[in-house]
């Protein structure tokens, strides 16, 4: 009930002076299809991460 009796303060909206402007949007480059590695051949995953992805 206190919400109903609380005075409502009206505030004027502030003006957005446009400090930033969105120029355009794009989608990220599509990823290549996932390469599946056999669960019994993790050495192949290590090779791919080192030689192809250069992640390790």
């Amino acid at each position: 009930m206190s919400a109903r009796t609380k005075p409502l303060e009206l505030v004027e909206p502030s003006v957005n002076d446009g400090a930033t402007k969105a120029l355009h949007f794009e989608k990220p480059a599509p990823k290549a299809a996932v390469k599946m590695v056999d669960a019994g051949n993790v050495d192949e995953l290590v090779r791919l991460l080192h030689e192809e992805a250069k992640a390790i």
Binding site: G18, A19, T20, K21, A22, L23, H24, F25, E26, K27, P28, K31, A32, V34, K35, M36, V37, D38, A39, V42, D43, L45, V46, L48, L49, H50, A53, A55, I56
Partner: protein, 312 residues
């Protein structure tokens, strides 16, 4: 005139993101034919910053909070053409406050160097990194807060000078307690992350995840359900409502790949997924996938990586 860069340190050492920030500032400054002023509280290893492009290092005693630091940086911005801040937890609090205090225009989540300088245009991740926005900064002070690991570091044979200055900032809040995350590698700036989900069946099985992270020098992370049920601390939760990461390598183990999780990790450069379910949606976002039982695959992967490290 100069480009100002805020250089964060932790326990007396600079964060990798701070070197990246300095390197970003140098490349931006070169576009404007001006110099880089690095602001830091670190008084012991500040000379390291010259190798990443800092022409001048300014040591100040930093305020305790982002708001106070923003006020300090604002006092240094009279002849500044741009400000660079790494998008760390602290950096994310400084940027908006600095923009508000100095009539600046801020680009958060920035993932590119400036495309142009007058006006400044940059690319930033939008819509939880599902899109890329090109944004123009029209305020009198362009401020760039970039995603760590997204720009890269360039070392140069640079040298410069170091000065100190007395500037005060008003901390509007008092920090009463600091809890430090227990992980060996800080998750938001980690170059490699090993993350696991409910597929691990219980917190007692996280030993192999930590072992794999150790071998890779990676941070450990988890999905939201895992932190919600208390298997891992909330500080490890990555995803749309957790920490958003951008490592070179993200390994997801036993995580199905809900869209909220992908939103926090999709900017990773290489994603590896290990899951028993070949239909798990995470495979569509992955670079490499293994359909298999984590309890069999991960120990083999740890051994294979150890052998690789020993041989190289």
């Amino acid at each position: 005139m100069s480009v100002l860069v805020f250089v964060e340190d932790w326990n007396g050492s600079f964060k990798k993101a701070s070197f990246e920030a300095t390197s970003y500032a140098k490349r931006w400054a070169n576009m404007m034919n001006t110099q880089v002023v690095a602001v830091t509280s670190n008084s012991t290893t500040s000379s390291e910053l010259h190798a990443y492009g800092a022409d001048h290092v300014l040591q100040i005693t930093l305020a305790k909070t982002g708001m106070g630091i923003a006020e300090q940086l604002g006092q240094l911005c009279n002849d500044v053409q741009g400000v660079v801040i790494a998008g760390t937890a602290l950096g994310k609090t400084i940027g908006p406050a600095l923009a508000a205090l100095n009539n600046g225009s801020l680009s958060t989540n920035t993932i590119s160097l400036p495309l142009s300088i007058n006006p400044t245009e940059v690319k930033r991740g939008a819509f939880s990194s599902k899109g890329i926005e090109t944004i123009e900064l029209n305020g009198s002070l362009p401020i760039v807060s970039f995603v760590p690991n997204s720009i890269g570091i360039e070392e140069i044979e640079g040298e410069g000078e170091t000065n100190s200055k007395d500037i005060t900032g008003n901390d509007l809040m008092e920090i009463t307690e600091v809890n430090v995350a227990s992980g060996k590698v800080a998750l938001p700036e980690a170059e490699a992350v090993v993350s696991a989900g409910r597929g691990l069946k219980g917190p007692e099985n996280w030993g192999m995840i930590e072992e794999l992270a150790d071998v890779l020098g990676a941070a450990t992370a988890c999905s939201k359900p895992v932190s919600d049920i208390g298997w891992r601390p909330h500080s490890e939760h990555v995803g749309q409502t957790g920490i958003q990461v951008n490592p070179n390598l993200y390994i997801a183990i036993g995580i199905s790949g809900a869209i909220q999780h992908l939103a926090g990790v999709s900017a990773s450069k290489t994603i590896v997924v290990v899951n028993t379910d070949s239909e798990a949606p995470f495979f569509k976002a992955a670079d490499y996938g293994i359909v298999g039982d984590a309890f069999e695959v991960i120990p083999k992967l740890v051994d294979a990586l150890r052998a690789f490290k020993a041989a190289s």
